[in-house]
Symmetry: C2
Subunit: 149 residues, 2 copies
């Protein structure tokens, strides 16, 4: 039982360490937080670079309120824009702008490199990262947007 709790604590702590590294790197190079990056990436993978805010919330694990709070700054700096639904006034879309697309591209490169530096070292035997990904999936960890693993 103690092993399970230990593992949960490790997960929480490993995440904090990892997200801080992403925040630092993405913040310094691209003015984005990790959370910003996740949102932009989700939009970048959506058809036409756009999706309903309610769907975006579900996709990234935030509440609708959280999506409103998170998209506000991104809209202000022009990386995302809000589009109405032509038929349903309740619905709004979040759409990546051209500037957002470009920023995302650069951020993805930086994030990919950081991820590679974290998980691509010699201390990881072949298959271990895939195993880790599988375990995390089991715990509710969705990964890159797109066809599910």
């Amino acid at each position: 039982m103690s092993e399970y709790l230990d593992t949960c604590l490790r997960l929480a702590r490993a995440q904090a360490v990892l997200v801080k590294r992403f925040d630092n790197q993405l913040g310094r190079l691209h003015g984005l937080s990790f959370a910003d990056f996740v949102l932009l990436q989700q939009l970048g993978s959506a058809p036409g670079g756009r999706m309903r805010r309610v769907d975006l919330a579900a996709a990234v694990g935030l509440t609708a309120s959280g999506v409103t709070r998170s998209l506000g700054p991104l809209e202000r700096i022009g990386l995302v824009e809000r589009e109405p639904d032509p038929r349903d006034a309740r619905v709004a879309y979040a759409a990546l702008t051209e500037a957002g697309r470009e920023r995302l591209q650069h951020a993805e490169k930086a994030a990919g490199q950081l991820a590679a530096s974290v998980l691509g070292g010699e201390e990881w035997a072949p298959g271990e990262v895939a195993s880790l990904a599988g375990y995390l999936a089991r715990l509710g960890g969705t990964g890159l947007p797109g066809p599910t693993a």
Copy 2:
């Protein structure tokens, strides 16, 4: 490269899912957040149930400011108390009170059960949880306080 980033995203997401479950369970049963629990547990494992606040910060991965912010409410509800250092006025100790010890005991039981329900199911083959713990340690995930794994 994409596999590495995918795994990082999974880690972030899995943690959010996990911590939310702990927050809900511990919050409902014991009026504690997961972060509260982590602090109390760290103190519970320290000699005499007490440690310097600067050391507590390091142990749980918070800044000194974060420890101040987090211990405030716990001090107010009497689970933790602040003690001065007899010789060094710069230093303050955080110490578990008797009420804190009791609350921690109950919370540990609940947390252990939740951890077991998350990681103790049939979908985890023998050794997989230990592997996961090892991978998380590699990523900076410290676990239960006490002798390092």
